[in-house]
């Protein structure tokens, strides 16, 4: 049996088509009649998609002769837009190890989140709408992943952004949710600007190259990934004349592509939308803002890695931004009180890891590429699990503030166990999945000649263990610190089951030889455990756990017990705050004040402020335009004459210049 005989490989387009059909069916036909059916149809379609994608992965991998690389297939392709020959835009399904991997991740997590949402969103006013948009999102994300060219990727990229916009703002009666959805849309759209301009820039540069190549280009189009990845094309692109500030179209295009990717993947300084995006329903946070959509930027850079590698300094930018984001977000995560916000900053930090891994390819060794995709794969499962766990806590205790939680391990034993497993996984404890993928990233940094980056990465690993242990301890250990928390109950089975499935995946995903499958030619393939990396990371993670345990496990519980016995809650709170003074001194004074606070200040004053400033400027300029509307007929006539004078002057000036 060959690929040509495999039904699912030949018809992989069915996988995204199912959620799209379901979106149309649920949105237009089912929703008005039955909300219950809306959820069922939506979940069933995605579950079917997930089953098909596992079949696809099975069929695709089955033929891998172990030493040889897996092939890149384009089983289905249709012409969409034709500018001219060589600049044709197709729609199609590109199957290679990376896209098959992502298809499996997206459909699996999406199916589990759909299932989880059936109970979680029960009774919400927009139940049908929610599932319709979740379907739309799944379709768009799959279209993005399977895109054989930059334009299809961009179109789906925008659709993904639009569905994210609707889902963040799902509770449109909450002003914070509305503000967050708008912020997310505007910030990512701003970044997408770079993507769009990059497409135009690269498209024309590559088109010129294609014209030079002539028949050698075959049927490949200028914006196809297959074309952009060819070494002769890359060499020609790199040798083009600079277009702006000494940069070639290739370099500029890559930097702009990275701008798009950084927006979607919430890299500093475009990260500001992601923490706010937690205003959306928690399953949405799990699916879109942890497991799938936010990794689109990583996926884009990974896809375009040959371009980045050929461009001067582009990967160094990726490396720096990734490393900084990893550290910066981990530091902030230590100071947050809201469970979901901690997880959001944790996501930022992990995305920073992935970008960092891609950035280490700048030395010419593409090992970081497979490490990034491996971490993307494992992170999707344990982070989705963490979010779903947080969702179960929210569902039970109606609050996400860790200082209002506590002691949940007794009423919610299953959730507790699963959350603990995910915490250990993200902290990188053997044999859970995070251990393997994080070590590969750090190994890539160490062996790729970036000792400083390796050190920072190690520090981030410690911080990760610390903040995860902190929220875990505060949430599940000690005593309930709120009435509502005390009456918490275990989540229903439809919520626990998907979490259980994710837990299995989070536990075993590390043994899947992902990095061997997705390795680019020339990448060093690690087998076994790299002790030079594994030992320090494990030690650092244990130190992080110990610090958190010392801060949040012992004294906190004792003080709560003492407060209950003595009835002197106020003093007990003070006592707890005394412990917190240490924490405050360590975190707020050292980490927060020295690192996080300036960053937060920068974030508030410059990043947020500049966004705000842009808004004010725009409105001022708008008022200026408005001021021209004096209402005087003759003022309008004078403007018209000015316009004519302007045209005459421009024509004359252009003729002079030309």
């Amino acid at each position: 049996m060959s690929y040509a005989a495999s039904a699912i490989v030949q018809h992989a387009w069915v996988i995204p088509a199912l959620p799209l059909l379901s979106f149309l069916a649920v949105g237009l036909l089912v929703r008005p009649f039955s909300t219950r059916w809306a959820g069922g149809v939506a979940a069933a379609s995605v579950a079917l998609s997930a089953a098909l994608s596992w079949w696809l992965a099975f069929d695709y991998l089955q033929f891998a002769s172990p030493p040889g690389p897996l092939p890149t297939l384009l089983p289905w392709q249709t012409e969409w837009l034709r500018f001219q020959e060589g600049l044709r835009i197709d729609a199609g399904t590109l199957l290679d190890p990376a896209s098959v991997l992502l298809v499996v991740v997206v459909t699996t997590v999406s199916a589990l989140v759909h299932l989880y949402s059936l109970a979680y969103m029960d009774g919400e006013a927009g139940y049908g709408r929610y599932f319709a948009i979740l379907n739309l999102f799944t379709f768009s994300m799959l279209g993005l992943v399977l895109a054989p060219n930059l334009v299809q990727m961009f179109v789906c990229w925008e659709l993904v952004g639009a569905s994210s916009f609707f889902l963040i703002g799902f509770w449109f009666d909450r002003p914070a949710a509305v503000a967050a959805s708008k912020k997310a849309f505007v910030v990512t759209r701003f970044a997408d600007l770079g993507f769009l301009v990059a497409i135009l820039l690269l498209g024309h540069a590559a088109f010129d190259v294609r014209q030079q190549l002539g028949a050698a280009a075959g049927d490949l189009q200028a914006l196809d990934f297959a074309f952009l990845g060819r070494s002769d094309v890359l060499a020609a692109l790199a040798s083009q004349a600079p277009v702006l500030g000494g940069m070639t179209a290739l370099t500029l295009g890559c930097l702009l592509l990275f701008m798009g990717g950084a927006g979607k993947s919430a890299m500093f300084p475009l990260h500001i939308w992601l923490p706010d995006a937690m205003e959306g329903p928690t399953p949405v946070s799990a699916l879109i803002h942890a497991a799938t959509m936010v990794v689109a930027g990583v996926y884009l850079v990974a896809r375009a890695l040959p371009l980045f590698a050929a461009a001067d300094g582009a990967l160094t930018v990726v490396l720096l931004v990734g490393t900084f984001t990893a550290l910066f977000a981990a530091a902030i995560a230590c100071t947050q009180d809201d469970l979901k916000r901690v997880l959001a900053f944790s996501t930022l930090s992990q995305l920073g890891y992935m970008m960092l891994a891609l950035g280490t390819c700048d030395g010419g060794d593409p090992t970081g590429h497979s490490a990034a995709l491996f971490h993307l794969f494992t992170h999707a499962f344990f982070k989705a699990l963490l979010f779903l766990g947080a969702g179960a806590v929210l569902h039970a205790a109606h609050t996400g503030d860790v200082w209002h939680l506590g002691g949940l391990r007794k009423p919610m034993p299953l959730t507790h166990a699963l959350f603990l497993l995910a915490t250990l996984a993200i902290a990188g404890i053997w044999p859970l999945s995070g251990f393997f993928s994080k070590d590969e990233i750090l190994a890539a940094a160490l062996h790729g000649g970036h000792p400083l980056v390796f050190t920072v990465g190690l520090g981030v690993a410690g911080l990760t263990a610390f903040y995860m242990a902190r929220v875990y301890l505060l949430t599940f250990w000690g005593q309930p610190r709120r009435e509502a928390t005390a009456h918490a109950h275990e989540a229903p089975l439809t919520m626990v089951l998907p979490m259980g499935a994710l837990a299995v995946l989070a536990a075993v995903a590390g043994f899947v030889p992902v990095s061997r499958w997705v390795a680019l030619p020339g990448a060093a393939v690690h087998t076994g455990i790299d002790w030079a990396v594994a030992v320090p990371t494990t030690v650092v993670a244990l130190v992080g756990f110990a610090a958190a345990g010392w801060l949040y496990a012992g004294d906190l519980g004792r003080s709560e017990a003492a407060a209950a016995r003595l009835g002197r809650l106020y003093r007990a709170l003070r006592h707890k705050f005394w412990i917190d003074e240490v924490y405050l001194w360590v975190t707020r004074k050292l980490i927060f004040r020295l690192v996080a606070a300036p960053i937060a200040w920068f974030d508030r004053m410059v990043v947020d402020g500049s966004m705000h400033g842009v808004g004010v400027l725009t409105r001022l300029a708008g008022a200026g335009v408005q001021a021209a509307q004096t209402g005087q007929a003759q003022a309008y006539a004078a403007w018209a004459l000015t316009g004519v004078a302007l045209v005459v002057g421009l024509l004359w000036a252009a003729a002079r210049a030309g």
Binding site: Q634, A638, L641
Partner: protein, 183 residues
């Protein structure tokens, strides 16, 4: 005095007259006088057409255009009563904008003019244009203008029908708009 000199002299006489009347059109405080001055300008233009050799055009100019201005005058008197016939001096600001725009336009035209080689009228074709223009208007071939002729009739019809519909005497304010068309 040769015919050429005579034509030149006539041109300058009418040019001077035309420009001074035009000055009155835009500057005279009394609108009625401005309108009469416009009639004069249009009359001068008829003379220009004649000097250029387009006698038919000159006739049309006087019959239709100048006649049209009489209609304008009648409307004007009906419309704005005696009080509004007086125009204020423009405020200094408006005056400045007007002068800048007008002088600017004039200077740009001079600049364009300077790039154009001068030429003189080749010779009088007075009276010979009537037949040529008439033929051009009714010719349905590649040299003819029957299509714009039809277009202009559509334009005039639309302007007349619409103008009457918009301006017909109905006290809209006294009726709800939905019933306004009954009046």
């Amino acid at each position: 005095m040769s015919a050429e000199t005579l034509r030149s002299a006539l041109f300058w006489v009418f040019a001077t007259l035309s420009l001074s009347l035009a000055w009155s059109v835009v500057g005279n405080r009394r609108l009625l006088r401005a309108a009469v001055a416009l009639m004069g300008v249009l009359g001068c233009s008829a003379a220009f057409y004649a000097l250029l050799g387009f006698g038919f055009l000159a006739g049309i100019q006087i019959l239709v255009y100048v006649g049209g201005i009489v209609v304008l005058l009648v409307f004007l008197v009906m419309l704005t009563r005696t009080q509004a016939l007086l125009e204020d001096e423009p405020t200094p600001w408006r005056h400045k904008v007007g002068v800048v725009a007008a002088v600017g336009f004039f200077v740009v035209n001079l600049w364009a003019l300077a790039s154009l080689p001068d030429a003189a009228v080749q010779g009088p074709v007075l009276g010979g244009d009537t037949r040529a223009i008439g033929r051009a208007l009714l010719d349905a071939g590649p040299q003819g203008y029957v299509l714009p002729f039809e277009a202009v009739s559509v334009l005039l019809l639309a302007a007349l029908v619409g103008g009457i519909a918009v301006a017909r005497k109905v006290d809209v304010a006294a009726l709800p708009p939905a019933e306004a068309n009954h009046g």
